[in-house]
Amino acid sequence: MEKFFKRLTACLLLLFVQILLLNRLIIMGHIVPFAYFMLVLILDSDVSSSKRMIWGFAMGLVVDVFMNTPGLQASVMTLLAYIQRYLLRLFVSFDRRDRLEPGVVSMGMRYYSFYLILGSFVFNSGYYLLVTSLNDGWKYLLVEVLLGTAISVLMMLVFEYLFRRNIRRRLR
C-alpha cells in the first residue's frame, strides 16, 4: 500500500508538471515536450503487466483531458506500458522473481539512457503518427519524432536528477 501511494505521488507530480508547464512550452512551433510517460518506464519489473497498463491508460487519459484528445495519449501510453518489460529486457536481464527498479543505479548511465531513448522513441512515434497528417510528408513526421524523442529524454534525465534520488531515499 505504501508503494502504491508513493507511485501515486510521483504520478501526480509528473502530471502536474506535464499539464501546467510542459504542455505550454511549445518547441519550434509544434513540438510538445512530453516527459510524464517516465513513470511507466521506471515501474519496477515485479509490477504486473495489467497494473502497468492500467497506470499507463489512466495517466494518458488525464493528459488527454487537458489536450482535448480523448483516447489518443491513453492509447500510446497503454502500448508503452504493454511493451515496457520487453524494452527493459533488451538492456538488462532479470528473472520473474527479481525486483528490478529501472534507473541509473541499477542499469548504469549508458544502458539507462539507451532504454529511455528507445521508450521515448516508441511514445513519440505513436503520438506523432496519430496526430500528424501524412500529407505533410514522411520527412516532416520523422523530424517531429526525432526532435520529440530528444526533448523527452532530456526532460526525463532532468527529472531523474531532480526527484528520483529523493524518492529512492524515502523508499529505503
Partner: protein, 265 residues
C-alpha cells in the same frame, strides 16, 4: 493436455491491452462525432476549473504586458473607427451588448493540427453549439461542444474548420480552411478560376448563415499563386492573432441548427 482456459489465461495481458486500446479508439471516435459529449475534454467541469485557476495565475504575471498591449490597441481602434464608419462593406465590430456574450479564454492551443479553445462560459450563460465566436480583430471560430460552465471552440486553426467568406470588392465567395503549420496563415479555397483576387484584398464573412454577421474581418490576402488553368491558390493572413487571445465574443444570435457554414466537424 492444456484446457482452452489455460490458453486464455496465458493471453490475458494481450486481451487487456486490446480491450484498453478499443476503449481509446471509441473515445477518439466519440470525440470526433458526438458534439454533445464533453467528457474527457477541457470543457468538462474538473478540467475546466483547473484551467480557469491556472489561467488566472498565469494572466496575473502578464498584467503589465497586457495593459500596454490594450492601451496601444485602444489607440489603434480609435483611429480605425472613423475609417470603418465610412466603409459600408465592413460591419462594426461587436460590442459586449445585446446578442454578444463576452467570455474569457482559459485554454488555447495553436501548435496542433486540431486546435481547440476553451472559454469560461457554457450552456448556463446561454452559449450553444454552432454559435459564432469572434475577437477584437475578427473571426475566431465556432462553438463546438458545451458543458454547463464551459465551452469548447473550434477555431479557424483547426483542419476541420471551414468558414464561408467573401473577398471585398470582388464579390467572390469561397471557404477559409487551415492546413496546419503557420498559425497566422490560412487558405482560401473553392474560389472560381480567374476570380481576380489580388494581394492586399480584405476577406470578410459572407453572412450566408446566422453564425457570423455579414462583413466581419477574417484577414487579408497575402499571396496568390495561379496554376496553369488559372485556378488560384490563395493564402490569407488572419486578422486574429490566436497566440494573444484573452477575451472573445460569442454571437448568441446564432440559430443553433444553422450549421451550413461548417462541414466535417
Amino acid at each position: 493436455m492444456r484446457s482452452p482456459l489455460d490458453f486464455l489465461v496465458k493471453l490475458r495481458y494481450l486481451m487487456l491491452f486490446l480491450a484498453l486500446e478499443a476503449v481509446c479508439m471509441i473515445l477518439l471516435h466519440r470525440h470526433a462525432t458526438m458534439r454533445d459529449n464533453v467528457v474527457f475534454t477541457t470543457a468538462g467541469t474538473v478540467s475546466g476549473f483547473v484551467n480557469r485557476v491556472s489561467s488566472s495565475v498565469s494572466s496575473y504575471f502578464s498584467l503589465r504586458k497586457e495593459n500596454d498591449r490594450l492601451s496601444s490597441e485602444i489607440a489603434s481602434l480609435r483611429s480605425q473607427l472613423y475609417e470603418l464608419r465610412d466603409s459600408a462593406e465592413v460591419a462594426s465590430l461587436p460590442d459586449a451588448g445585446e446578442g454578444f456574450a463576452v467570455a474569457r479564454v482559459i485554454n488555447n492551443t495553436i501548435n496542433r493540427q486540431q486546435n481547440f479553445i476553451t472559454i469560461d462560459k457554457g450552456s448556463g450563460d446561454g452559449i450553444a453549439e454552432g454559435m459564432g465566436v469572434c475577437g477584437l480583430d475578427g473571426v475566431v471560430g465556432v462553438v463546438y461542444k458545451v458543458s454547463r460552465g464551459y465551452a469548447l471552440v473550434m477555431p479557424l486553426l483547426n483542419r476541420n474548420s471551414h468558414i464561408s467568406c467573401k473577398v471585398i470588392g470582388q464579390e467572390t465567395f469561397g471557404f477559409l480552411s487551415w492546413n496546419g503549420g503557420d498559425p497566422h496563415i490560412a487558405n482560401l479555397i473553392d474560389l472560381p478560376s480567374r476570380s481576380g483576387v489580388a494581394v492586399g484584398d480584405t476577406v470578410l464573412t459572407s453572412g450566408y448563415s446566422s453564425i457570423f454577421p455579414k462583413g466581419l474581418p477574417i484577414g487579408k490576402i497575402c499571396s496568390v499563386n495561379n496554376d496553369e488553368i488559372g485556378n488560384p491558390e490563395v493564402f490569407v493572413e488572419l486578422a486574429t492573432d490566436f497566440s494573444r487571445l484573452n477575451y472573445v465574443y460569442v454571437n448568441t444570435n446564432t440559430v443553433p441548427d444553422d450549421l451550413s457554414e461548417i462541414s466535417d466537424w
